[in-house]
């Protein structure tokens, strides 16, 4: 029944709908959290059949906006109007009832069930009779038109586990359509998709638009937004930085609105360009298990922050894991200070002063059940022991010193790290390495999920490390961070370093071009190599 109603609603034309009235609008919406204004004086409208690109750096207020639209959070003030009826805030039921559907970055699918079962999970058509068996034939009938509408190239019987990520997203979108969605919000849908898959998804978005369904497309990949959006809404620091109409949508405009503030910082960092240090760690033609057919080489220099950019799945984390000895090195050689180095385990790496701040803080970075002090001394416990017995005094002294140096906010060094905020947990990870003598520091997404204040402190720490002569490798997917913090940027593409950018050539565009395996636009190309 659901899809029959829908098919009635989508007989509109496939062009944009400039004259249609908005069915959803937000006006002067404000939302604060203790100490933070997450969203302020924010207004926007959504018209049927419109694709809105929503961009903004991390922390700009996108998530808060999504929570308000989804009915998870109530705004402090402002109105949300749906079909002419004004609300102070939506409940989850009202949000669903208004036809707002979400497709999150992390998909909510049962991989062990087939497509049809996923789309109508919990709402399966049942056969008459006491056993309430699922009416498979009817289910398939209901699913078929939905799959057709998302342009699916797979069958309703296919197990979800056998589908590619883009196909799984199609299933999610079909699920959204099955509940009569009028607005589908896609949150970073392409961030983990390979190129070809991304194309498919962009086609699906165009298809939805043609059926009169509105889409809010959140992405950091500006060129994708350029291609599909009718309008772009830019958020910055919780406020509307600007709206770009179709003809004004271009990369530079979006960046200007998004990161105006950041560009200035970048120039500042540019002034402090320094002479590169000598090579500390050098990896020569090593191979990782993820890309066993592709040798990768990289040099980390002393007193330098080397940013390592690239798309998710380009092999950055795997490279870090091999350098740190967690994964096996399949081929190639590594030298430290010019001497050959054989790192067979993380313990070997640590013994040689090569430290890693891993991507997944809670699973691998710290032990949530141990205290701050126990976490900090864990890699260097024998130095805090006498005759193999832990010397609590020495341990606490080290921990107190690091707590003070890094400004870890906690009642005491005996506090369980699990109770700390993300930023403070990350500082504990850093503290355990800083308490030792780092030669090479690898940081994998060091500021992911961390509030802005702590972010700045962590940038400061990385800079201080580099100033002290440490070779720093920072893996990051946050473009502004990579550009703002690095001294040089290496970019990975499908398991290999596709290029290294010097400070003069830093730009989002260049990083992106290298990340997708294309040639960057270098200044030197125009001015000639020195």
């Amino acid at each position: 029944m659901a899809h029959r109603l829908l098919s009635g609603a989508m007989t509109s034309t496939e062009t944009t709908h400039p004259n249609t009235a908005p069915f959803l609008s937000l006006e002067a919406v404000r939302k604060t959290y203790p100490g933070v204004v997450a969203l302020d004086r924010f207004s926007m409208e959504v018209r049927p059949g419109e694709v809105i690109g929503l961009v903004g750096e991390n922390g700009a207020g996108k998530s808060t906006l999504m929570k308000i639209l989804g009915g998870v959070t109530r705004p402090d003030s402002g109105t949300i109007t749906v079909d002419g009826i004004a609300h102070d805030g939506l409940t989850v039921e009202q949000s669903i009832g208004s036809g707002i559907a979400f497709v999150h970055q992390e998909l909510n699918l049962f991989e062990n069930l087939d497509v049809a079962a996923n789309i109508f999970f919990g709402r399966e058509p049942l056969r008459a009779g006491p056993l309430s068996l699922v009416d498979r034939a009817r289910l398939r009938e209901m699913v078929a038109p939905l799959l057709k509408r998302v342009g699916a190239n797979f069958s309703a019987d296919a197990p979800v586990a056998s589908l590619s990520l883009a196909q799984q997203q199609m299933v999610e979108i079909a699920k959204a359509l099955s509940i009569r969605a009028r607005l589908v919000i896609l949150d970073e849908p392409t961030s983990s998709l390979p190129m070809a898959e991304t194309e498919k998804l962009l086609d699906v978005i165009k298809g939805l638009k043609a059926q009169g369904i509105s889409v809010i497309f959140i992405s950091h990949r500006l060129h994708e937004i350029e291609r599909v959006a009718d309008r772009v809404v830019v958020l910055r620091d919780g406020t509307l930085a600007g709206t770009l109409a179709k003809e004004r949508i271009n990369h530079d405009e979006m960046v200007r609105l998004m990161i105006g503030r950041m560009l200035k910082e970048r120039e500042k960092a540019g002034e402090a360009a320094r002479a590169p240090g000598t090579v500390a760690l050098s990896a020569e033609a090593i191979r990782t298990s993820t890309y066993p057919d592709r040798p990768v080489s990289i040099e980390l220099r002393r007193a330098e922050i080397l940013g390592l950019a690239g798309l998710v799945g380009s092999g950055r984390t795997e490279l870090a894991r091999v350098l740190f000895g967690i994964d096996e090195r399949l081929a190639g050689s590594v030298t430290l200070d010019g001497k050959p180095l054989n790192v067979g385990s993380a313990a070997d790496a640590v013994a040689n002063g090569i430290f890693l701040v891993p991507e997944d803080r809670k699973l691998t970075g710290i032990l949530l059940d141990l205290s701050i002090a126990q976490n900090i001394t864990l890699p260097n416990l024998p130095a805090h022991a006498r005759r193999s017995l832990v010397a609590t005094g020495a341990e606490l002294a080290t921990a107190e010193k690091q707590k003070k140096n890094l400004g870890i906010k906690a009642p005491s060094v005996l506090t369980r790290t699990g109770t700390l905020s993300g930023g403070n947990q990350q500082k504990v990870v850093l503290a355990k390495w800083l308490a030792m003598d780092p030669k090479v520091m690898i940081l994998d997404e060091p500021t992911r999920g961390i509030d802005i204040g702590a972010k700045a402190e962590i940038y400061g720490l990385m800079r201080a490390l580099a100033d002290a002569g440490v070779a720093v490798l920072m893996i990051s997917s946050d473009m502004e961070e990579v550009i703002g913090v690095s001294d040089r940027i290496a970019v990975m593409h499908e398991g290999q370093i596709s290029g290294i950018l010097d400070k003069d050539d830093f730009s989002q565009e260049n990083v992106l071009l290298l990340a997708v395996g294309k040639k960057p636009k270098l200044l030197q190309a125009a001015g000639g190599l020195e």
């Binding site: 933070v36 691998t364 141990l370 024998p382």
Partner: protein, 331 residues
């Protein structure tokens, strides 16, 4: 002593008081000596088990090992007439080697502890039965080992020497578990092996060491059990002892997921288990109900402990929300 351990101690005292009230023989010298001897024998192997459980592993072959190593020990000194100190060393080394093999299979070949030690349980029992051709290993009439017998089954100052051995072992192992670098590593690995590895700990070696410790303590208790029963029929000797050890650890507050538990806890767990066995005897409960009583008490104990944990977590959460009214972070 943690709150958990204190609770267990109080439970032991309460049960003891009730049993004494019904049957005063509970506190008789002979009963206490007997029970403390059993506590010692089971305590030693439970400590070994605890070291494995703390890493998140399990050692199921303990009972079969007690049968195999006990049989070998008696055979060495009674039939092959080895010097008993030599036989003693051989058995301990054998226990260490077996523990090493288990640990190696688990860490290097990535087999699950349950599977490895379950196979051990079957293999060692089978080998023990084969070795004696399903007969009974025992001493010939008139064979005596005065020093050995004194050390294992004798008494000093009214205390069974086995119990004194337990106290010494418990103190040493308490220091190892709760004060040493190795002990800290064990807890870290039990809590989160990956994170421990990322902190530069050689987790494989530490886990192997835990299985070696378990093997050595099991071998030691195998000798004690052999000298206590003095004759071994390998088909039944030591059966279910691994479960006694696991039960003692669980009662003592160990989590089978690893990373939790104290040495005092496992000793108290052993004491409670032996007290329950004793209770069944002294109160005239049909001995066929022995296991049922034990199982029932463990279940109730674990339930109470778990519910208490849930209650505390809820209270902590309510407090946290009160302190931080709008806890949701911005983005």
């Amino acid at each position: 002593m943690s709150k958990k351990d204190l609770g267990l101690l109080i439970l032991i005292l309460v049960v003891g008081a009730v049993v004494t009230a019904i049957n005063p023989r509970f506190l008789s010298a002979i009963n206490l000596a007997n029970t403390s001897n059993l506590v010692a024998l089971f305590g030693i192997l439970s400590i070994g088990q605890a070291f494995v459980i703390i890493t998140g592993g399990i050692e199921l072959s303990v009972g079969s090992l007690i049968a195999l190593l006990g049989t070998l020990f008696i055979d060495f000194i009674a039939v092959r007439e080895l010097d008993w100190p030599l036989a003693f060393v051989v058995i301990i080394v054998l226990g260490a080697v077996i523990g090493f093999v288990h640990g190696w299979l688990i860490t290097r070949l990535k087999l699950q502890p349950f599977v490895v030690t379950l196979c051990g349980l079957l293999i060692y029992r089978g080998v023990a039965r084969f070795y004696t051709a399903d007969g009974t290993a025992g001493f010939a009439f008139g064979q005596n080992f005065p020093t050995l017998e004194f050390l294992t089954a004798g008494r000093s100052y009214g205390l069974p020497n086995s119990f004194i051995a337990l106290i010494v072992i418990a103190i040493v192992m308490w220091v190892v578990l709760h004060r040493s670098v190795f002990g800290r590593y064990l807890y870290a690995i039990g809590k989160n092996e990956e994170a421990a590895k990322y902190s530069g700990i050689r987790t494989g070696r530490i886990i192997i060491a835990a299985y070696v410790i378990c093997g050595v303590l099991t071998a030691l208790s195998a000798i004690y059990f052999a000298m206590y029963t003095r004759s071994i029929s390998p088909a039944s000797h030591g059966q279910f002892y691994e479960l006694y050890a696991i039960a003692a650890a669980v009662l003592g507050g160990f989590s089978l997921r690893g990373g939790e538990g104290s040495l005092v806890g496992v000793i108290l767990g052993t004491v409670l288990l032996q007290e329950l066995q004793n209770l069944v005897n002294l109160l005239g409960i049909p001995s066929s109900l022995n296991f049922a009583v034990m199982g029932g008490v463990i279940l109730i104990g674990v339930l109470v402990d778990q519910q208490w944990g849930v209650f505390r977590a809820r209270r902590r959460m309510i407090e946290a929300t009160r302190q931080n009214v709008a806890g949701a972070p911005a983005e």
